[in-house]
């Protein structure tokens, strides 16, 4: 295992442990409502949107079509695996047809 990969994994493990154990330790002082709580609840969605948007914009028509196919597949099936498969299949054929 490369040392920087090990370092990254140990670092991730350390901050995640700190967050989990920290929540329990400071439970009595942690706000259950208000700004900080609302902020923490909004983080996962915002991070995912920040991951998806630049990747979609960086693509071309084939990727945009596949994005649409993925969204439709997920809304219909509510299934992560099915949505991923739909996206991959769509991008494969769209690239073939559009030559992207």
């Amino acid at each position: 295992m490369p040392p920087d990969a090990l370092l990254a994994i140990l670092g991730m493990a350390a901050v995640t442990f700190a967050v989990r154990a920290g929540g329990y330790l400071v439970a009595n002082r942690l706000p259950a409502s208000g700004f900080v709580a609302a902020w923490m609840r909004h983080i996962p969605g915002a991070v995912l949107a920040a991951l998806v948007a630049p990747a979609v914009v960086a693509g071309g028509p084939a990727e945009w079509l596949a994005t649409l196919a993925t969204a439709l597949a997920f809304l219909v099936s509510r299934n992560l695996l099915a949505a991923m498969a739909a996206g991959v299949v769509a991008v494969y054929f769209a690239r073939m047809l559009l030559g992207g």
């Binding site: 295992m1 490369p2 990969a5 990254a8 994994i9 140990l10 670092g11 991730m12 493990a13 350390a14 901050v15 995640t16 967050v19 989990r20 154990a21 920290g22 929540g23 329990y24 330790l25 439970a27 942690l30 259950a32 409502s33 900080v36 609302a38 902020w39 923490m40 609840r41 909004h42 983080i43 996962p44 969605g45 915002a46 991070v47 995912l48 949107a49 920040a50 991951l51 998806v52 948007a53 630049p54 990747a55 914009v57 693509g59 596949a66 994005t67 993925t70 969204a71 997920f74 299934n79 992560l80 695996l81 949505a83 991923m84 739909a86 996206g87 991959v88 299949v89 991008v91 494969y92």
Partner: protein
């Protein structure tokens, strides 16, 4: 039967109950882990790294984000660790609400027990507590099954991923975007999510243009979530007034 054996018996029952109730969720954790394992191989992680990260970090959303930032030539260790912290901050709120279950343990044992707290095990245990039940053993039972299914699925995904040599040729490079999009859509809770997500998306696109590396994930995530919190607290205040 003395008091101690009854107590241990009840604890074993709670452990098994937690594990049994988790079975349907274990299937979805398994599917999610399988996808992660395949993508991990694409990102250049080895089998040992997959196992180590799954066991020590054990937090799916942050592991997906880390994969996206993973690069073999120059691993952005600082950015990955920081992004993990940001994505996992919500776990703090979860373990805080479980304090009634953990409070009776010595602090170090309780701290170790929180490792089994994930979105899924937390939601299940909270539902149980809301019904006036819920026990530490229940959380541990659900957590153990969650942990096992995550590890087995991610390792399996990594092994199966070897069947694919050149991911781009089969459109598999798009699997990342597709997975993140599906995860995002699954998080939709209503119109209140629209503005924070748009802010996150626009901030990320702008940052990706201007700053090299993967800082757009952190900038977009922070911008979107802060805007979401501002809107939500403003609305609560005007409702209260």
């Amino acid at each position: 039967m003395d008091a101690i054996t009854t107590h241990t018996g009840r604890r074993a029952d709670q452990f098994l109950l937690g594990a049994r109730m988790f079975i349907p969720l274990a299937i979805s954790v398994g599917a999610y882990g399988l996808v992660w394992g395949v993508l991990a191989r694409q990102s250049g992680l080895g089998l040992a790294e997959v196992g180590l990260m799954g066991a020590l970090v054990f937090a799916g959303a942050s592991q997906f984000v880390a994969l996206e930032m993973w690069s073999l030539d120059a691993l952005p260790v600082g950015a990955i660790v920081f992004a993990t912290l940001i994505v996992n901050l919500r776990l703090m709120l979860m373990t805080a609400t479980l304090r009634p279950l953990l409070g009776r343990l010595p602090a170090w044992q309780a701290a170790l027990a929180t490792h089994f707290v994930t979105d899924e095990t937390w939601a299940m245990t909270m539902a149980e507590m809301a019904r006036g039940r819920g026990a530490l053993a229940y959380l541990m039972g659900a957590g153990s099954l969650c942990f096992l299914s995550w590890l087995i699925a991610t390792l399996t995904g990594h092994v199966l991923g070897s069947a694919v040599d050149d991911p781009t040729r089969y459109g598999l490079d798009f699997a990342f975007t597709a997975t993140f999009l599906a995860l995002l859509l699954g998080m939709w809770r209503g119109k209140a999510d629209l503005v924070p997500w748009l802010v996150a998306a626009l901030a990320a696109i702008a940052t990706a243009r201007l700053v090299p590396g993967h800082w757009h994930v952190i900038v977009g995530g922070l911008a979107g979530s802060l805007v979401g919190a501002v809107i939500e607290t403003r609305r609560e205040r005007s409702n209260a007034a």
